[in-house]
């Protein structure tokens, strides 16, 4: 019997070398880790910000008379670049709410209200998600995928993405829901056994985003079903997704 020793050794060396250079990539604590100051996260509006003026610039008309609606905001920075004295986006990725109303940042407000919603105890260490992209542009989808990669590793908290809706506890929706995906979304939701939860990820899913007025969008699904968690962003950052999921499982 001939053992191809040399070949095996060099292959093994390649592998070890690559693994060694890789180092330790997981973020030790994705709930408290700092983020690049360039990241536009939770915004702060000045007390005297002219909301109407800001709204004129806004591509999704995210400013209401109460403040900035994070469910509509696509964090494009058009407002903060032009009127930095009225609005700044802080590098704070902890942006999520358990109701649509709580996503509105009033002038002077610096944090989002505490979440009241908590999953039942049985989901504390195990929560299975079925992702549905309904006309998402693949940015939220990739960030959702990245939440489970070696860096962010959301599975450390017991969150996993499953292939079949039959194995899922929740549906996480990305995209504004195109008319052509409306049926498939409904069917996937129906296939998830009770108790089940709905999570909206990204501006498109929460409000329709840039496509809110498109003729090819059908958001009637959301008239029938109430989401338990809203994660803003365009796309939502993996750290936002991880901390949002953690907060409904084990509290913020």
């Amino acid at each position: 019997m001939i053992f191809p020793t040399a070949g095996v050794t060099s292959k093994m060396l390649h592998l070890l070398q690559a693994r060694f250079r890789h180092g330790y990539q997981a973020i030790p604590d994705p709930l408290t880790v700092g983020i690049d100051p360039a990241f536009p996260g939770l915004p702060e509006l000045a007390i005297d910000a002219d909301l109407e003026l800001l709204n004129k610039l806004c591509p999704t008309k995210a400013f209401t008379s109460q403040g900035l609606d994070l469910g509509r905001c696509i964090f494009c920075g058009l407002c903060s670049r032009k009127y930095p004295e009225m609005i700044v986006f802080r590098p704070n990725y902890k942006m999520a709410a358990d109701s649509r109303e709580k996503l509105i940042m009033a002038p002077g407000q610096t944090v989002l209200p505490k979440m009241d919603f908590m999953l039942p105890r049985k989901f504390r260490y195990s929560f299975a998600l079925r992702s549905v992209s309904a006309a998402g542009c693949n940015a939220c989808e990739m960030e959702l995928g990245a939440s489970n990669n070696v860096n962010f590793d959301i599975s450390r908290y017991g969150v996993e993405t499953v292939a079949s809706p039959r194995h899922a506890d929740a549906l996480i929706l990305t995209g504004p829901i195109s008319r052509n995906m409306a049926d498939a979304l409904n069917e996937t939701w129906r296939a998830i056994p009770e108790p089940k939860y709905l999570i909206l990820c990204g501006a498109c899913a929460i409000s329709g985003g840039l496509f809110a007025d498109s003729a090819a969008i059908d958001r009637s699904f959301l008239k029938h079903w109430q989401a338990c968690l809203y994660i803003p962003g365009c796309p939502a950052h993996p750290l936002s997704i991880v901390s949002a999921m953690y907060s409904i499982m084990r509290g913020s």
Binding site: P40, S133, C137, A216
Partner: protein, 482 residues
């Protein structure tokens, strides 16, 4: 309307309207001369336009809609027209007679066939069974439906039905001020923000006869996007054959690259970075130095990870000879990007229609057209782009202006903008209506043509190799559904 030595997104007077016969003749003549169809579409002026190109040459011409709403299809002779003719049929009801596969593309609002009523090719044979996959897939990806006709474990035929992602984006692009559509353009394909964004910016700047600033920063972001997308595909390919180390290492390397993009503009996908006239965020000296060090480290790690991956024989046995696309097919069907280059067709907009100088740029190709070729080519392109990134970082002047003022649009002009994105040739073409808006706007994502490659690659393969083939092409659903 011949333009030679294009080194700028060209802007043209609308071409002379010609008769259908001379229009079709001209297409036939040009294709035989080696031109590829870059775009072929109907517009709201009731004209059919054809844009054909070969390196450094573009031809644009048009004909009125035929009165009978019928014309002889070009597809049987030149299959590269197949998806364009289907699109023309779906959007304007113009029938290319004898088109072999005249099915709907996107199922838009008001279309004749609803997405749920789509009729798939089927077979009465008792030997054939059908497998339907999607639109909701097992992983976290965009929706699309794949219908396999199977003989045992072997794929006899794969039909790809798209349209689930259709958002009516083009109509939104032409309503209102064209220069303010950047956020919308960033969602054409959220993973090709810089590719489509650059094409759009160049197009608007051409229509306004303005020259932008910060081309080097745009070019840098475009190459970083390419590196990130290729790394994401390599990670998924490794994952699909259960080579978990490759999956994790490439994913982590992608994180480093897209986090570097975030440090430039605030978005891991390059959203917010570009604007008509230039870019929104400058690069300072510290950031340039950090990026150089990070990208250098990345290059070293990518090399050792790829060497380790391709030394794994069980992985190679899955990659080699799987999902082959022949050189002749890649040419005939007008594929672009990795789908063509891995089969030895050297098409790359950076060489063929350069919008910026790419000194010493050579198109990388592979010859075998299988999954291995597409994977290895991605690695080769990553290393080439990382080299370009280092050169660009050396070039960028932190004190240079980053935005130029942009004039109003010149009415009644057509502009063409071609950019090599990570997936291949992105073509944007539009006609200005007045000083602010476009009369029509056409976006051609490379995936629109390249989906056909996937269908051809899996024919006579085992169905278990489908995910691997699919990832090796890594095509965009929303880019082609719009």
């Amino acid at each position: 309307m011949l333009k030679t030595d294009v080194n700028y997104s060209p802007v043209l007077e609308p071409p002379q309207i010609e008769s259908l016969d001379s229009f079709l003749d001209r297409i036939r003549r040009l294709v035989i001369q080696g031109f590829q169809p870059l775009a072929f579409f109907g517009t709201n002026e009731k004209l059919i336009y054809a844009l054909l190109g070969k390196p450094h040459e573009l031809e644009l011409f048009c004909t009125p809609f035929p009165e009978s709403l019928h014309y002889p299809s070009l597809t049987p002779e030149f299959p590269a027209f197949q998806i364009f003719e289907r699109e023309l049929y779906e959007e304007y009801g113009i029938v290319p007679s004898n088109h072999p596969w005249l099915k709907s593309v996107r199922h838009p609002l008001g279309g004749s066939i609803k997405i749920e009523d789509y009729s798939f090719l089927s077979s009465d044979s008792k030997l054939i069974h059908e497998v339907g996959v999607g639109p909701v897939h097992a992983g976290v990806i965009e929706p699309g439906h794949f219908r396999f006709l199977m003989q045992g474990e072997i794929v006899e035929h794969l039909e790809i039905q798209l349209g689930y992602q259709h958002r009516d984006l083009i109509n939104m692009l032409i309503s209102g001020s064209l220069a303010q559509k950047m956020p919308l353009v960033e969602t054409i394909a959220g993973d090709t923000v810089i590719g489509h964004g650059t094409a759009y910016c160049r197009l608007v700047e051409s229509l306004a006869e303005s020259s932008p600033q910060a081309n080097d920063i745009r070019s840098l972001l475009l190459e970083m996007e390419r590196v990130a997308m290729h790394l994401s595909t390599l990670s998924a390919l490794a994952g699909d054959v259960a080579y978990i180390m490759g999956q994790n290492l490439f994913a982590a390397l992608r994180t480093t690259v897209i986090n570097s993009t975030l440090s430039i503009c605030g978005s891991r996908f390059g959203k917010r970075a570009l604007c008509v006239g230039g870019v929104n965020y400058p690069l300072n000296k510290t950031l340039i130095d950090t990026l150089k060090a990070k990208m250098h480290k990345c290059a070293v790690q990518i090399r050792s990870t790829t060497e380790a991956m391709f030394a794994c024989t069980s992985l190679l046995s899955r990659f080699d000879d799987t999902g082959k696309i022949s050189n002749a097919d890649a040419l005939r069907f007008g594929f672009s990007g990795i789908s063509a280059k891995a089969s030895g067709v050297a098409v790359d907009a950076r060489a063929d229609f350069p919008i910026w100088g790419y000194p010493g740029f050579e198109v990388q190709t592979e010859s075998t057209g299988d999954v291995y070729a597409r994977a290895n080519l991605r690695y080769m392109e990553i290393m080439q782009s990382l080299q370009m990134i280092q050169e660009l970082l050396d070039q960028i002047d932190p004190s240079a202006p980053i935005q130029a003022p942009v004039n109003e649009l010149i009415p009644d002009r057509i502009a063409i903008s071609i950019v090599e994105g990570a997936r291949g040739r992105i073509v944007h073409i539009a006609k200005s209506k007045d000083a602010h808006s476009a009369l029509w706007y056409k976006v051609i994502d490379p995936s629109l043509m390249n989906w056909q490659a996937l269908s051809m690659a899996v024919a006579n393969e085992q169905i278990s190799d489908f995910p691997l083939c699919n990832k090796s092409f890594d095509l965009s659903y929303c880019g082609s559904d719009l």
